[in-house]
Protein backbone atom coordinates (compact mmCIF):
# COMPACT_ATOMS: atom_id res chain seq x y z
CA UNK A 1 0.00 0.00 0.00
CA UNK A 2 1.33 3.34 -1.06
CA UNK A 3 1.52 5.71 1.86
CA UNK A 4 2.39 8.79 -0.21
CA UNK A 5 -0.10 11.47 0.63
CA UNK A 6 -0.39 12.36 -3.04
CA UNK A 7 -1.52 8.88 -3.92
CA UNK A 8 -5.24 8.29 -4.16
CA UNK A 9 -6.38 4.68 -4.20
CA UNK A 10 -8.93 4.27 -6.95
CA UNK A 11 -7.78 7.24 -8.98
CA UNK A 12 -5.41 5.09 -10.98
CA UNK A 13 -8.07 2.48 -11.56
CA UNK A 14 -10.44 5.18 -12.77
CA UNK A 15 -7.73 6.43 -15.09
CA UNK A 16 -7.14 2.99 -16.54
CA UNK A 17 -10.83 2.43 -17.09
CA UNK A 18 -11.06 5.90 -18.58
CA UNK A 19 -8.38 5.21 -21.15
CA UNK A 20 -9.94 1.88 -22.04
CA UNK A 21 -13.26 3.62 -22.55
CA UNK A 22 -11.55 6.34 -24.58
CA UNK A 23 -10.02 3.87 -27.00
CA UNK A 24 -12.85 1.36 -27.22
CA UNK A 25 -14.62 3.18 -30.10
CA UNK A 26 -11.34 3.61 -31.95
CA UNK A 27 -10.65 -0.11 -31.65
CA UNK A 28 -14.14 -0.95 -32.86
CA UNK A 29 -13.83 1.31 -35.89
CA UNK A 30 -10.52 -0.28 -36.87
CA UNK A 31 -11.71 -3.82 -36.23
CA UNK A 32 -14.81 -3.57 -38.40
CA UNK A 33 -12.90 -1.90 -41.24
CA UNK A 34 -11.66 -5.40 -42.05
CA UNK A 35 -15.16 -6.83 -42.14
CA UNK A 36 -16.02 -8.47 -45.43
CA UNK A 37 -19.77 -7.96 -44.95
CA UNK A 38 -21.51 -4.93 -46.42
CA UNK A 39 -23.45 -4.59 -43.15
CA UNK A 40 -20.88 -3.13 -40.78
CA UNK A 41 -22.02 -4.61 -37.50
CA UNK A 42 -22.42 -8.19 -38.75
CA UNK A 43 -18.99 -9.82 -38.91
CA UNK A 44 -18.58 -12.43 -41.64
CA UNK A 45 -14.91 -12.54 -42.47
CA UNK A 46 -11.64 -10.73 -42.96
CA UNK A 47 -11.12 -8.54 -46.00
CA UNK A 48 -9.21 -5.45 -47.06
CA UNK A 49 -11.53 -4.68 -49.97
CA UNK A 50 -12.96 -1.60 -48.24
CA UNK A 51 -9.55 0.02 -48.22
CA UNK A 52 -9.38 -0.33 -51.98
CA UNK A 53 -12.85 1.13 -52.21
CA UNK A 54 -11.97 4.06 -49.97
CA UNK A 55 -8.74 4.87 -51.76
CA UNK A 56 -10.36 4.85 -55.17
CA UNK A 57 -13.34 6.92 -54.03
CA UNK A 58 -13.01 10.25 -55.82
CA UNK A 59 -15.70 12.03 -53.81
CA UNK A 60 -13.90 11.06 -50.63
CA UNK A 61 -10.55 12.35 -51.85
CA UNK A 62 -12.20 15.57 -53.00
CA UNK A 63 -13.75 16.05 -49.58
CA UNK A 64 -10.43 15.34 -47.90
CA UNK A 65 -8.78 17.96 -50.13
CA UNK A 66 -11.41 20.58 -49.28
CA UNK A 67 -11.03 19.84 -45.56
CA UNK A 68 -7.24 20.13 -45.73
CA UNK A 69 -7.28 23.43 -47.61
CA UNK A 70 -9.84 24.96 -45.28
CA UNK A 71 -8.05 23.65 -42.20
CA UNK A 72 -4.62 24.89 -43.28
CA UNK A 73 -5.78 28.39 -44.22
CA UNK A 74 -8.03 28.68 -41.17
CA UNK A 75 -5.19 27.50 -38.92
CA UNK A 76 -2.78 30.09 -40.30
CA UNK A 77 -5.32 32.91 -40.01
CA UNK A 78 -6.50 31.87 -36.55
CA UNK A 79 -2.96 31.42 -35.22
CA UNK A 80 -1.78 34.82 -36.49
CA UNK A 81 -4.88 36.60 -35.19
CA UNK A 82 -4.65 34.82 -31.86
CA UNK A 83 -0.93 35.46 -31.50
CA UNK A 84 -1.35 39.20 -32.11
CA UNK A 85 -4.26 39.41 -29.70
CA UNK A 86 -2.43 37.42 -27.04
CA UNK A 87 0.65 39.64 -27.31
CA UNK A 88 -1.40 42.77 -26.78
CA UNK A 89 -3.53 41.32 -24.02
CA UNK A 90 -0.63 40.00 -21.96
CA UNK A 91 1.95 42.70 -22.65
CA UNK A 92 0.04 45.98 -22.41
CA UNK A 93 -0.37 47.26 -18.87
CA UNK A 94 -3.49 49.31 -18.27
CA UNK A 95 -5.11 48.26 -21.55
CA UNK A 96 -8.62 49.60 -21.98
CA UNK A 97 -11.44 47.11 -22.53
CA UNK A 98 -9.13 44.19 -21.74
CA UNK A 99 -11.91 41.95 -20.46
CA UNK A 100 -14.18 42.86 -23.35
CA UNK A 101 -11.46 42.15 -25.89
CA UNK A 102 -10.70 38.82 -24.27
CA UNK A 103 -14.36 37.90 -24.37
CA UNK A 104 -14.52 38.85 -28.04
CA UNK A 105 -11.56 36.64 -28.91
CA UNK A 106 -13.17 33.76 -27.03
CA UNK A 107 -16.64 34.46 -28.37
CA UNK A 108 -16.83 31.32 -30.53
CA UNK A 109 -16.45 29.21 -27.37
CA UNK A 110 -19.28 31.06 -25.72
CA UNK A 111 -21.90 30.71 -28.44
CA UNK A 112 -23.49 27.37 -29.26
CA UNK A 113 -22.25 26.38 -32.69
CA UNK A 114 -25.70 25.78 -34.09
CA UNK A 115 -26.57 29.43 -33.39
CA UNK A 116 -23.42 30.66 -35.11
CA UNK A 117 -23.98 28.36 -38.07
CA UNK A 118 -27.49 29.62 -38.59
CA UNK A 119 -26.34 33.22 -38.17
CA UNK A 120 -23.54 32.90 -40.70
CA UNK A 121 -25.83 31.16 -43.16
CA UNK A 122 -28.30 34.05 -43.02
CA UNK A 123 -25.48 36.58 -43.30
CA UNK A 124 -23.87 35.06 -46.38
CA UNK A 125 -27.23 34.63 -48.04
CA UNK A 126 -28.00 38.32 -47.40
CA UNK A 127 -24.61 39.31 -48.79
CA UNK A 128 -24.94 36.91 -51.69
CA UNK A 129 -21.56 35.25 -51.14
CA UNK A 130 -21.51 32.30 -53.51
CA UNK A 131 -17.95 31.05 -53.12
CA UNK A 132 -18.27 28.12 -50.76
CA UNK A 133 -14.57 28.14 -49.94
CA UNK A 134 -14.68 31.76 -48.78
CA UNK A 135 -17.64 31.02 -46.50
CA UNK A 136 -15.94 28.00 -44.96
CA UNK A 137 -12.57 29.67 -44.46
CA UNK A 138 -14.16 32.70 -42.80
CA UNK A 139 -16.28 30.69 -40.41
CA UNK A 140 -13.52 28.20 -39.60
CA UNK A 141 -10.95 30.95 -38.97
CA UNK A 142 -13.31 32.48 -36.45
CA UNK A 143 -14.13 29.40 -34.41
CA UNK A 144 -10.51 28.18 -34.47
CA UNK A 145 -9.16 31.44 -33.04
CA UNK A 146 -9.89 30.81 -29.34
CA UNK A 147 -8.38 27.35 -29.59
CA UNK A 148 -5.17 28.91 -30.86
CA UNK A 149 -5.43 31.80 -28.41
CA UNK A 150 -5.70 29.90 -25.12
CA UNK A 151 -2.42 27.93 -25.27
CA UNK A 152 -0.51 30.95 -26.62
CA UNK A 153 -1.76 33.19 -23.85
CA UNK A 154 -0.99 30.54 -21.24
CA UNK A 155 2.58 30.36 -22.50
CA UNK A 156 2.96 34.15 -22.58
CA UNK A 157 1.59 34.47 -19.07
CA UNK A 158 3.99 31.85 -17.80
CA UNK A 159 6.92 33.79 -19.22
CA UNK A 160 8.55 36.82 -17.72
CA UNK A 161 8.62 39.97 -19.85
CA UNK A 162 12.20 40.65 -18.72
CA UNK A 163 13.72 38.81 -21.67
CA UNK A 164 11.77 40.83 -24.15
CA UNK A 165 12.63 44.09 -22.48
CA UNK A 166 16.30 43.19 -22.49
CA UNK A 167 15.98 42.14 -26.12
CA UNK A 168 14.32 45.38 -27.06
CA UNK A 169 17.17 47.30 -25.54
CA UNK A 170 19.50 45.08 -27.51
CA UNK A 171 17.82 45.01 -30.91
CA UNK A 172 16.03 48.32 -30.80
CA UNK A 173 13.04 47.39 -32.97
CA UNK A 174 10.17 45.56 -31.30
CA UNK A 175 9.72 43.40 -34.37
CA UNK A 176 13.28 42.05 -34.21
CA UNK A 177 12.93 41.47 -30.50
CA UNK A 178 9.72 39.61 -31.09
CA UNK A 179 11.20 37.47 -33.84
CA UNK A 180 14.50 36.71 -32.14
CA UNK A 181 13.38 36.32 -28.55
CA UNK A 182 9.66 36.11 -27.87
CA UNK A 183 8.60 33.88 -30.72
CA UNK A 184 11.17 31.14 -30.05
CA UNK A 185 10.24 31.23 -26.38
CA UNK A 186 6.52 30.87 -26.97
CA UNK A 187 6.90 28.47 -29.91
CA UNK A 188 5.52 25.47 -28.00
CA UNK A 189 2.40 27.46 -27.13
CA UNK A 190 1.98 28.66 -30.71
CA UNK A 191 2.50 25.16 -31.95
CA UNK A 192 0.00 23.66 -29.52
CA UNK A 193 -2.50 26.36 -30.47
CA UNK A 194 -2.06 25.77 -34.18
CA UNK A 195 -2.47 22.02 -33.74
CA UNK A 196 -5.68 22.48 -31.75
CA UNK A 197 -7.04 24.92 -34.33
CA UNK A 198 -6.22 22.49 -37.12
CA UNK A 199 -7.91 19.59 -35.35
CA UNK A 200 -11.00 21.68 -34.63
CA UNK A 201 -11.29 22.75 -38.24
CA UNK A 202 -10.86 19.21 -39.57
CA UNK A 203 -13.49 17.94 -37.14
CA UNK A 204 -16.14 20.59 -37.63
CA UNK A 205 -19.49 19.33 -38.80
CA UNK A 206 -22.33 21.64 -37.75
CA UNK A 207 -21.04 24.84 -39.38
CA UNK A 208 -19.68 23.13 -42.49
CA UNK A 209 -22.94 21.29 -43.02
CA UNK A 210 -24.88 24.55 -42.95
CA UNK A 211 -22.48 26.38 -45.26
CA UNK A 212 -21.40 23.76 -47.75
CA UNK A 213 -22.19 24.44 -51.36
CA UNK A 214 -21.15 23.30 -54.81
CA UNK A 215 -17.87 21.43 -54.63
CA UNK A 216 -16.97 22.37 -51.08
CA UNK A 217 -18.10 19.36 -49.11
CA UNK A 218 -15.72 18.82 -46.21
CA UNK A 219 -14.75 15.39 -44.98
CA UNK A 220 -17.07 15.30 -41.93
CA UNK A 221 -20.01 16.40 -44.08
CA UNK A 222 -19.19 13.71 -46.61
CA UNK A 223 -18.86 11.10 -43.86
CA UNK A 224 -22.20 12.16 -42.47
CA UNK A 225 -23.83 11.64 -45.86
CA UNK A 226 -22.37 8.12 -45.85
CA UNK A 227 -23.81 7.41 -42.41
CA UNK A 228 -27.19 8.72 -43.48
CA UNK A 229 -27.56 6.47 -46.47
CA UNK A 230 -26.50 3.33 -44.66
CA UNK A 231 -22.87 2.63 -44.10
CA UNK A 232 -20.53 0.03 -45.42
CA UNK A 233 -17.18 -0.79 -43.80
CA UNK A 234 -15.75 1.69 -46.32
CA UNK A 235 -16.51 4.35 -43.73
CA UNK A 236 -14.50 2.39 -41.17
CA UNK A 237 -11.65 2.07 -43.63
CA UNK A 238 -11.69 5.81 -44.23
CA UNK A 239 -11.69 6.43 -40.50
CA UNK A 240 -8.87 3.98 -39.89
CA UNK A 241 -6.76 5.72 -42.52
CA UNK A 242 -7.54 9.03 -40.82
CA UNK A 243 -6.60 7.63 -37.42
CA UNK A 244 -3.28 6.41 -38.78
CA UNK A 245 -2.63 9.78 -40.45
CA UNK A 246 -3.52 11.64 -37.25
CA UNK A 247 -1.31 9.32 -35.29
CA UNK A 248 1.63 10.15 -37.53
CA UNK A 249 0.96 13.91 -37.51
CA UNK A 250 0.28 14.02 -33.79
CA UNK A 251 3.38 11.96 -33.00
CA UNK A 252 5.48 14.27 -35.13
CA UNK A 253 3.92 17.28 -33.45
CA UNK A 254 4.50 15.81 -30.02
CA UNK A 255 8.16 15.04 -30.60
CA UNK A 256 8.69 18.48 -32.17
CA UNK A 257 7.08 20.29 -29.27
CA UNK A 258 8.96 18.11 -26.79
CA UNK A 259 12.19 19.15 -28.48
CA UNK A 260 11.12 22.78 -28.50
CA UNK A 261 10.30 22.54 -24.81
CA UNK A 262 13.70 21.12 -23.97
CA UNK A 263 15.29 23.98 -25.84
CA UNK A 264 12.96 26.56 -24.29
Amino acid sequence: MNTDIRHYPGARLITWVFFAWLYLPIAVVIWFSFNENRLVSVWTGFSTQWYDAALSNRALLDALRVSLIVAVIATVVATVVALMAAMVLTRTPGLKFRRLSETVVNLPLLLPEIVVAVAVLILVSQLGVTNGMVKLVLAHSAFCTPFAFLPIRARLQGMSADFEEAAQDLYATPWTAFRRVTLPLIAPGVFAGAMLAFAMSMDDFITSNMLNSGGTTTLPVYIFSLIKQGTTPELNAISTLLIVASLIIATLALSLSARAMRRG
Partner: protein
Protein backbone atom coordinates in the same frame (compact mmCIF):
# COMPACT_ATOMS: atom_id res chain seq x y z
CA UNK B 1 5.94 45.63 -26.80
CA UNK B 2 5.06 49.17 -27.75
CA UNK B 3 4.89 48.23 -31.41
CA UNK B 4 1.81 46.08 -30.99
CA UNK B 5 -0.48 47.49 -28.42
CA UNK B 6 -3.95 48.34 -29.70
CA UNK B 7 -3.44 47.47 -33.37
CA UNK B 8 -2.73 43.87 -32.51
CA UNK B 9 -6.33 43.45 -31.44
CA UNK B 10 -7.84 44.83 -34.62
CA UNK B 11 -7.72 41.58 -36.65
CA UNK B 12 -9.41 39.66 -33.85
CA UNK B 13 -12.14 42.27 -33.49
CA UNK B 14 -12.74 42.46 -37.24
CA UNK B 15 -12.84 38.68 -37.66
CA UNK B 16 -15.28 38.22 -34.79
CA UNK B 17 -17.42 41.17 -35.87
CA UNK B 18 -17.81 39.80 -39.39
CA UNK B 19 -18.37 36.17 -38.48
CA UNK B 20 -20.16 36.41 -35.13
CA UNK B 21 -21.29 39.76 -33.86
CA UNK B 22 -23.01 40.96 -37.04
CA UNK B 23 -24.54 37.56 -37.82
CA UNK B 24 -25.89 37.22 -34.29
CA UNK B 25 -27.46 40.66 -34.59
CA UNK B 26 -29.10 39.49 -37.81
CA UNK B 27 -30.44 36.45 -35.96
CA UNK B 28 -31.99 38.81 -33.42
CA UNK B 29 -33.64 40.72 -36.27
CA UNK B 30 -34.89 37.52 -37.92
CA UNK B 31 -36.38 36.37 -34.63
CA UNK B 32 -38.78 39.32 -34.71
CA UNK B 33 -39.45 39.11 -38.46
CA UNK B 34 -42.38 37.63 -40.31
CA UNK B 35 -42.18 34.04 -41.46
CA UNK B 36 -42.37 33.23 -45.15
CA UNK B 37 -45.15 30.80 -46.18
CA UNK B 38 -42.67 28.09 -47.23
CA UNK B 39 -39.74 28.99 -45.00
CA UNK B 40 -37.46 31.98 -45.28
CA UNK B 41 -38.54 35.30 -43.75
CA UNK B 42 -39.67 38.82 -44.58
CA UNK B 43 -38.24 41.77 -42.71
CA UNK B 44 -40.71 43.21 -40.25
CA UNK B 45 -41.50 43.35 -36.58
CA UNK B 46 -43.55 40.92 -34.54
CA UNK B 47 -43.14 39.18 -31.21
CA UNK B 48 -45.09 36.20 -32.52
CA UNK B 49 -42.07 33.84 -32.50
CA UNK B 50 -41.44 34.52 -28.82
CA UNK B 51 -45.11 34.18 -27.95
CA UNK B 52 -45.05 30.84 -29.70
CA UNK B 53 -42.53 29.51 -27.20
CA UNK B 54 -45.15 29.66 -24.46
CA UNK B 55 -48.51 29.73 -26.20
CA UNK B 56 -49.73 27.90 -29.25
CA UNK B 57 -53.03 27.09 -30.88
CA UNK B 58 -54.06 23.69 -29.62
CA UNK B 59 -56.00 20.97 -31.43
CA UNK B 60 -59.21 22.76 -30.50
CA UNK B 61 -58.26 26.03 -32.19
CA UNK B 62 -57.83 28.20 -29.14
CA UNK B 63 -54.65 29.84 -27.98
CA UNK B 64 -53.45 28.02 -24.89
CA UNK B 65 -50.43 27.78 -22.67
CA UNK B 66 -48.35 24.96 -24.08
CA UNK B 67 -45.33 23.78 -22.10
CA UNK B 68 -43.89 21.59 -24.85
CA UNK B 69 -41.06 23.97 -25.78
CA UNK B 70 -40.31 24.61 -22.11
CA UNK B 71 -40.03 20.87 -21.66
CA UNK B 72 -37.61 20.68 -24.57
CA UNK B 73 -35.58 23.57 -23.15
CA UNK B 74 -35.56 22.00 -19.67
CA UNK B 75 -34.52 18.63 -21.03
CA UNK B 76 -31.68 20.23 -22.99
CA UNK B 77 -30.40 22.03 -19.90
CA UNK B 78 -30.63 18.85 -17.83
CA UNK B 79 -28.70 16.83 -20.40
CA UNK B 80 -26.00 19.50 -20.77
CA UNK B 81 -25.71 19.84 -16.99
CA UNK B 82 -25.48 16.08 -16.48
CA UNK B 83 -22.79 15.89 -19.16
CA UNK B 84 -20.85 18.67 -17.44
CA UNK B 85 -21.05 17.09 -13.99
CA UNK B 86 -19.99 13.64 -15.22
CA UNK B 87 -17.11 15.20 -17.14
CA UNK B 88 -15.99 16.99 -13.96
CA UNK B 89 -16.16 13.84 -11.86
CA UNK B 90 -14.13 11.93 -14.44
CA UNK B 91 -11.65 14.65 -15.25
CA UNK B 92 -10.59 15.32 -11.67
CA UNK B 93 -9.04 11.90 -10.89
CA UNK B 94 -7.74 11.39 -14.41
CA UNK B 95 -6.13 14.83 -14.61
CA UNK B 96 -4.70 14.32 -11.12
CA UNK B 97 -3.12 11.01 -12.03
CA UNK B 98 -1.68 12.49 -15.22
CA UNK B 99 -0.35 15.58 -13.47
CA UNK B 100 1.48 13.53 -10.85
CA UNK B 101 3.43 11.40 -13.35
CA UNK B 102 6.97 12.12 -14.54
CA UNK B 103 7.43 14.71 -17.30
CA UNK B 104 7.69 12.19 -20.14
CA UNK B 105 4.76 10.03 -19.07
CA UNK B 106 2.73 13.17 -18.53
CA UNK B 107 3.29 14.29 -22.08
CA UNK B 108 2.45 10.87 -23.49
CA UNK B 109 -0.72 10.58 -21.40
CA UNK B 110 -1.90 14.04 -22.44
CA UNK B 111 -1.25 13.05 -26.02
CA UNK B 112 -3.32 9.91 -25.50
CA UNK B 113 -6.18 12.02 -24.14
CA UNK B 114 -6.27 14.23 -27.22
CA UNK B 115 -5.53 11.64 -29.88
CA UNK B 116 -9.07 10.19 -30.25
CA UNK B 117 -10.27 13.68 -31.03
CA UNK B 118 -8.35 13.71 -34.23
CA UNK B 119 -10.86 11.18 -35.39
CA UNK B 120 -13.91 12.92 -36.78
CA UNK B 121 -16.63 13.46 -34.17
CA UNK B 122 -19.13 11.79 -36.46
CA UNK B 123 -17.05 8.67 -36.70
CA UNK B 124 -16.68 8.58 -32.92
CA UNK B 125 -20.41 8.90 -32.38
CA UNK B 126 -21.02 6.30 -35.04
CA UNK B 127 -18.60 3.90 -33.32
CA UNK B 128 -20.73 4.19 -30.21
CA UNK B 129 -23.70 3.33 -32.37
CA UNK B 130 -22.06 -0.02 -33.08
CA UNK B 131 -20.85 -0.57 -29.51
CA UNK B 132 -24.16 0.20 -27.83
CA UNK B 133 -26.28 -1.73 -30.33
CA UNK B 134 -27.85 -5.05 -29.35
CA UNK B 135 -24.93 -6.97 -30.88
CA UNK B 136 -22.25 -4.55 -29.69
CA UNK B 137 -19.94 -5.06 -26.74
CA UNK B 138 -21.63 -2.36 -24.68
CA UNK B 139 -25.14 -3.50 -25.52
CA UNK B 140 -24.34 -7.12 -24.62
CA UNK B 141 -22.62 -6.13 -21.39
CA UNK B 142 -25.60 -4.05 -20.41
CA UNK B 143 -27.99 -6.91 -21.17
CA UNK B 144 -25.81 -9.31 -19.17
CA UNK B 145 -26.13 -6.91 -16.25
CA UNK B 146 -29.86 -7.19 -16.57
CA UNK B 147 -30.57 -4.05 -18.55
CA UNK B 148 -32.75 -3.83 -21.63
CA UNK B 149 -31.74 -2.19 -24.88
CA UNK B 150 -29.10 0.48 -24.36
CA UNK B 151 -29.01 2.16 -27.75
CA UNK B 152 -31.64 4.88 -28.30
CA UNK B 153 -31.93 5.67 -24.59
CA UNK B 154 -30.96 8.88 -22.77
CA UNK B 155 -28.12 6.87 -21.23
CA UNK B 156 -26.65 6.17 -24.67
CA UNK B 157 -26.91 9.86 -25.49
CA UNK B 158 -25.12 10.78 -22.28
CA UNK B 159 -22.28 8.32 -22.92
CA UNK B 160 -21.79 9.83 -26.37
CA UNK B 161 -21.87 13.39 -25.08
CA UNK B 162 -19.40 12.80 -22.25
CA UNK B 163 -17.15 11.08 -24.73
CA UNK B 164 -17.34 14.01 -27.13
CA UNK B 165 -16.56 16.72 -24.64
CA UNK B 166 -14.31 15.14 -21.98
CA UNK B 167 -10.98 16.51 -23.32
CA UNK B 168 -12.35 20.05 -23.06
CA UNK B 169 -12.66 19.35 -19.33
CA UNK B 170 -9.46 17.37 -18.75
CA UNK B 171 -7.12 19.92 -20.33
CA UNK B 172 -8.05 22.95 -18.15
CA UNK B 173 -8.35 20.80 -15.00
CA UNK B 174 -4.95 19.32 -15.72
CA UNK B 175 -3.49 22.80 -16.14
CA UNK B 176 -4.93 23.82 -12.77
CA UNK B 177 -3.68 20.72 -10.95
CA UNK B 178 -0.23 21.08 -12.47
CA UNK B 179 0.06 24.50 -10.91
CA UNK B 180 -0.70 23.10 -7.43
CA UNK B 181 2.20 23.41 -5.07
CA UNK B 182 3.03 19.96 -3.61
CA UNK B 183 3.87 21.76 -0.36
CA UNK B 184 0.21 22.75 -0.08
CA UNK B 185 -0.84 19.14 -0.38
CA UNK B 186 1.57 18.15 2.33
CA UNK B 187 0.42 20.98 4.54
CA UNK B 188 -3.15 19.85 3.93
CA UNK B 189 -2.23 16.30 4.82
CA UNK B 190 -0.56 17.42 8.04
CA UNK B 191 -3.51 19.58 8.91
CA UNK B 192 -6.34 17.19 8.10
CA UNK B 193 -4.54 13.91 8.41
CA UNK B 194 -6.59 12.30 5.65
CA UNK B 195 -6.23 12.16 1.90
CA UNK B 196 -9.91 12.63 1.28
CA UNK B 197 -10.19 15.69 3.47
CA UNK B 198 -7.15 17.12 1.72
CA UNK B 199 -8.83 16.40 -1.61
CA UNK B 200 -12.02 18.09 -0.49
CA UNK B 201 -10.49 21.06 1.33
CA UNK B 202 -7.38 21.70 -0.74
CA UNK B 203 -7.35 20.09 -4.20
CA UNK B 204 -10.92 20.78 -5.30
CA UNK B 205 -11.00 24.44 -4.18
CA UNK B 206 -7.61 25.15 -5.72
CA UNK B 207 -8.49 23.51 -9.02
CA UNK B 208 -11.85 25.22 -9.11
CA UNK B 209 -10.82 27.77 -11.77
CA UNK B 210 -9.87 24.87 -14.06
CA UNK B 211 -13.13 23.06 -13.32
CA UNK B 212 -15.13 26.24 -13.97
CA UNK B 213 -13.34 26.88 -17.27
CA UNK B 214 -13.91 23.28 -18.29
CA UNK B 215 -17.55 23.48 -17.25
CA UNK B 216 -18.15 26.36 -19.64
CA UNK B 217 -16.22 24.67 -22.45
CA UNK B 218 -18.38 21.56 -22.03
CA UNK B 219 -21.74 23.08 -21.14
CA UNK B 220 -21.96 25.52 -24.05
CA UNK B 221 -21.46 23.08 -26.93
CA UNK B 222 -23.51 20.47 -25.06
CA UNK B 223 -26.49 22.83 -25.11
CA UNK B 224 -26.38 23.05 -28.89
CA UNK B 225 -25.66 19.40 -29.55
CA UNK B 226 -27.35 17.80 -32.54
CA UNK B 227 -25.56 14.58 -33.46
CA UNK B 228 -25.82 12.57 -30.25
CA UNK B 229 -29.58 13.03 -29.75
CA UNK B 230 -30.12 12.21 -33.41
CA UNK B 231 -27.86 9.15 -33.72
CA UNK B 232 -27.63 7.70 -30.19
CA UNK B 233 -30.82 9.00 -28.60
CA UNK B 234 -32.91 7.71 -31.48
CA UNK B 235 -34.48 11.12 -32.02
CA UNK B 236 -37.40 10.23 -29.79
CA UNK B 237 -37.20 13.45 -27.85
CA UNK B 238 -36.29 16.79 -29.29
CA UNK B 239 -33.44 18.91 -27.99
CA UNK B 240 -33.01 22.60 -28.58
CA UNK B 241 -30.41 21.96 -31.29
CA UNK B 242 -32.68 19.60 -33.20
CA UNK B 243 -35.62 21.95 -32.65
CA UNK B 244 -33.69 24.82 -34.24
CA UNK B 245 -32.71 22.63 -37.18
CA UNK B 246 -36.31 21.49 -37.62
CA UNK B 247 -37.56 25.07 -37.77
CA UNK B 248 -35.09 25.96 -40.50
CA UNK B 249 -36.02 22.76 -42.34
CA UNK B 250 -39.38 21.00 -42.29
CA UNK B 251 -41.03 23.38 -39.83
CA UNK B 252 -40.47 26.21 -42.30
CA UNK B 253 -40.52 28.75 -39.52
CA UNK B 254 -37.20 30.59 -39.57
CA UNK B 255 -38.18 33.37 -37.14
CA UNK B 256 -39.21 30.78 -34.54
CA UNK B 257 -35.94 28.89 -35.05
CA UNK B 258 -34.09 32.18 -34.59
CA UNK B 259 -36.08 32.92 -31.42
CA UNK B 260 -35.10 29.54 -29.93
CA UNK B 261 -31.47 30.29 -30.85
CA UNK B 262 -31.73 33.58 -29.00
CA UNK B 263 -33.16 31.81 -25.95
CA UNK B 264 -30.21 29.44 -26.05
CA UNK B 265 -27.81 32.37 -26.23
CA UNK B 266 -29.46 34.09 -23.29
CA UNK B 267 -29.04 30.90 -21.27
CA UNK B 268 -25.33 30.85 -22.07
CA UNK B 269 -24.98 34.51 -21.08
CA UNK B 270 -26.65 33.76 -17.73
CA UNK B 271 -24.21 30.92 -17.05
CA UNK B 272 -21.29 33.17 -17.96
CA UNK B 273 -22.54 35.92 -15.67
CA UNK B 274 -22.89 33.53 -12.75
CA UNK B 275 -19.37 32.33 -13.38
CA UNK B 276 -17.98 35.86 -13.69
CA UNK B 277 -19.64 36.91 -10.44
CA UNK B 278 -18.20 33.95 -8.63
CA UNK B 279 -14.73 34.79 -9.95
CA UNK B 280 -15.09 38.42 -8.89
CA UNK B 281 -16.26 37.40 -5.40
CA UNK B 282 -13.25 35.15 -5.12
CA UNK B 283 -10.90 37.92 -6.17
CA UNK B 284 -12.55 40.15 -3.59
CA UNK B 285 -11.86 37.64 -0.85
CA UNK B 286 -8.29 36.96 -1.82
Amino acid sequence: MRGFRFWGLVPAWVLMAVTLIVPVMIVVLVSVSLRGPYGGFDWGFTLEPYREILFSTGWTDELEFDPKYLIIIGRTIALAAATTVICMALALPVAYVIATRGPRTKLVLLYLVTLPFWVSMIVRVYAWLIILGNDGIGGRLWQALGGGGLLFTPGAMLIGMVYSYIPLMILPVYAAIEKLDPALLEAGADLYGSRWTTARRVIVPLTWPGLAAGAILVFVPALGTVLEPMLLGGGKQMMMGTLIQTQFGGGRNWPFGAAIAIVMMVMVVIVLLINARRAIRKEGRA
